[in-house]
Symmetry: D2
Subunit: 320 residues, 4 copies
């Protein structure tokens, strides 16, 4: 089903070109100070506008429709909505006819027998992540003093990526990126051995973030090539601190008191203006297609705050 969490539970609703998108949040304790302005900084970080992101601008103005009273959460469900303003009508039927490579067009329209809303990606649009970011702000308040922060490690495989990005923009191409997320002030004991390990919950929600292709904790994929004597990590203090934090703050699915560390691989934006090939489902021929419109050249640039939010939501679910 389309919700995440047991104790701090969120559901996303809406479509890219419908009335609104939003999130319903269940499980927020009463008495947490919350007003709409609290949501703005993280929503701003997710917005487009910087180089490599789409020129299309949305208001992204959150309205808290329920669950707050006099500036505090009430303990009832919180519904936060975002009106869709900046939608441009076009002929989405062509997408059903010639599904875009790398997009969910084909899989979604098959799954829903063509009853899905295809406009702008419909319910599978990245615009739905507004709700994740908004819920993340609340989650961050809940899990405090745990602090979650995510940053870009590389774009297109490069550490300083300005030049690569300029080139991709010029060429109508796009770039993937690698994001690292760190949680500090982690307590010992979050997570369940089977089946709600911290890694299980975090990866579950992270793989709901569009464009995610991989996740690794601590030494991650490097550990597959290591010897035990290299990877193993001496415990050096009574509160569980280790020498190298090889396991990214988790043992046996349970937080061990070290920083939470994980990395997420984001694929290059599927929509590029370079010509691509895809099948015309009516003719059965593979045709060249060009995707017009306003796109992010590097969607990874906008994703760190979404990763933060997702991680905070997973941890809030384990904390409550």
């Amino acid at each position: 089903m389309n919700s995440f969490g047991h104790k701090f539970k969120i559901s996303l609703f809406g479509e890219s070109h419908g009335n609104m998108v939003g999130v319903v949040i269940d499980g927020t304790p009463a008495g947490i100070p919350l007003k709409e302005e609290d949501l703005l900084p993280d929503l701003q970080r997710r917005r487009s506008g910087a180089k490599g992101t789409t020129p299309r601008k949305e208001d992204d103005t959150p309205v808290i429709q329920s669950g707050i009273y006099n500036g505090f959460t009430t303990g009832a469900l919180i519904c936060i909505s975002f009106l869709n303003n900046n939608t441009i009508s076009k002929d989405y039927k062509s997408l059903e006819q010639t599904p875009r490579p790398g997009h969910a067009d084909f899989a979604v329209s098959s799954k829903y027998n063509h009853f899905n809303d295809p406009r702008g990606g419909g319910h599978t649009s990245g615009r739905l992540t507004l709700g994740i970011v908004a819920a993340g702000v609340i989650a961050k308040k809940i899990i405090s003093p745990i602090n979650i922060s995510a940053n870009i490690l590389s774009i297109g495989g490069a550490n300083p990526w300005e030049d690569l990005l300029d080139k991709a923009i010029q060429e109508g191409d796009s770039l993937g990126g690698l994001i690292e997320c760190k949680g500090t002030n982690m307590p010992v004991g979050l997570g369940e051995p089977f089946f709600n390990s911290i890694e299980s919950l975090i990866s579950h929600i992270i793989f709901s973030v569009p464009a995610t292709k991989g996740i690794e904790f601590g030494d991650g994929f490097r550990a597959a090539s290591m010897k035990g004597s290299e990877h193993n990590d001496p415990i050096i203090s009574k509160d569980g601190k280790t020498a190298k934090n090889s396991n990214g703050g988790i043992n046996g699915g349970i937080s061990n008191g070290n920083d939470l560390i994980f990395r997420v691989a984001i694929k290059p934006t599927s929509s590029i203006s370079k010509p691509q090939q895809s099948i015309n489902l009516q003719t059965g021929n593979v045709e060249e297609m060009k995707i017009a419109g306003r796109h992010d050249s590097c969607i990874a640039l906008r994703i760190p705050v979404i990763i933060e939010a997702a991680a905070a939501i997973a941890i809030a679910d384990l904390t409550l």
Copy 2:
């Protein structure tokens, strides 16, 4: 909570040195042929005995305690148990005093205020994966003709790994490994956009398999370094087949009709006989410790069948 799945739901119970370990499975349709012998081939694949695996042998004999009648599933809960026979009593108090690096000892005993069963890893023992493998056999029947198979790609970073493994055994060290899992005959349309993408469910359960450090789908972490024009993947047939399967059979969280492809990083076994360092929680001093006993030098060798089972369980949950 300690269960996985919505429609095909499993819970693991038991401790390594208690009476038994087992699995309770909810959601199996009535009328599937099932007898205990059906479980044996996959259980055998999980067993130790080959080079690089522990010399300790367990019977691993499954008993189906409920949910079958006259050789068919009844639709009621299936409980499968495995007696623990080959347990060796020793002084586990030392583990609480000097927790083993890389193990869950410290995190678990902190989480449960020292009420956990520490013998042989207790409830967090790899022995609990017997239940995953057993449930996986049933899941494989449910999802047929989808076929899941997992294989080792490398051990210790090497493709032919005999020599590395011999050396690690001699040195009392251990090795990590990389496993690839493939699903064939995949239908289009499995998975939910938010929050139950195929990747979400598979990663959720895979990160319950002890020693897992990372997971990636299709191009995975490589995609973070790619350009869109490299990663993008032309759709070349009316049933959704693509040229390169860059996305591992999934777009927008939903199966696209191509093979499911994912890889899992397994860390080297934490228990090595080489001397290591850890804190003595009573004295507060970091001490040298040696872990005696019978251990796998490369636990990854036993894990492919567990990965298969976990993937089959996730897909069964989406299929029903």
Copy 3:
């Protein structure tokens, strides 16, 4: 948590005097024809205005914010909202000081440490049942040809209740009522033996309808006084029809092909203009209080359509 259902899942949000109330519905299959007008007949049945119901009128205009496209459900979450228009501001602090007998004032403000929204009952207001009725319309479409209909059996214990009702209105008093709900065209085999019997799911959601005090199926409480030879019910046809339908269409928690029959006891509206007594939490004295404002003299009159909706939702959850 504040949602109902596994496969057809609903969550209610909003407060009586907040921006809006609404419902989020997960699990509706794609391709069901749905437009806002479809919701109006049942919403109209729930409205006030008839004798014995509150003179306060709300628009109760539903807006489907998501999950439909071109007049059909898309398979994505459906969010339906209702603006709150006709709210009258008053001093709700007195309710926290002198909680109204029979109301949730005391329990709710204790539970949420006084952070709840007290205006008009806040999140516990009967106004939230708008969302149940709206979801019920969709559920009725899903479960067709099963048909659910609920009617009033008695008000204040009387079968023709005109006179009793007139008297209660004059006296500033209120009346309880008894409602019977019937489901026809029931298939055999809905429901699970433990713990999701039809009775379990129906009673679970029915007891979320404010003012419900009891529920019974088939012979119900009369069965407690019967002999087996009286209550037992011969099966008289190959499709499971019985002579008397003593069990209200259910055996062992599973539908048996006869009509579903259950009755619900609704208590008299707690808000009456007759003087009552309650504690003043500040002074500690029991004081006489009079509840002013616009109230239903018999809320039971508005509840049959809510009972229908709730039953349809429970059955949709078992049907999908």
Copy 4:
């Protein structure tokens, strides 16, 4: 699905004439003293042997297979099993041919396409309630100092029921019964307004107890015939105590600090030795049938402890 609870979750497995029946319990905090003997007093109360109950005796010896260590719960899943010893093989095919009135035979075999285990009621047998009683003992420890106790109010409609019971036994008939359950030391604030009211959770699990036909809280069905001025209940102390406890300790689905009071209607045992009529599914004729074997004349006599356990489980789920 076949489990109950969010935070204290139980699943029942097994069949009446299979290897064993049992319960798996998830969510028990670590550190609760628990040994098998603790379960015996409540299991003894559920046993047969008294007048009006079946002469068939089972050992009902519980074995705690997991989740305890050194006499305390560990926080891991608790599996408790009961071997089936006293099973008598007979020809159950006749039950599929001529289903017993009032039993689940017809509904269950239709639901599961005849793959269900029909021996002794299979998975729908009252024997499965052993697991509810065992889980209830643990729940009672969790919710302490809340105390739950259930008693019989009447049998066959009579308050002193000796004579009625003797007569029913002589005539090969059976009797229904009415049970009242009371919870004392209730805190204020348990329960959720939508959809997990206390009544919702309690009724959900109570209707999983075989033979239950109705449930009412506080004034219950009487409230449907009352005036508000009769039913309403002055709050008379600062901690929420009311004059009459008309609402059985609950307002708006939330505990109000008064005793929890509810009553449950139990139908007469369906298996009676008096001749009854049912359809022969092969011939299509309605035939007279006599049910041989060992039966309870009044199953209600054994049910109070099951009601207690069920209520304690629901409250534990809300308490944790």
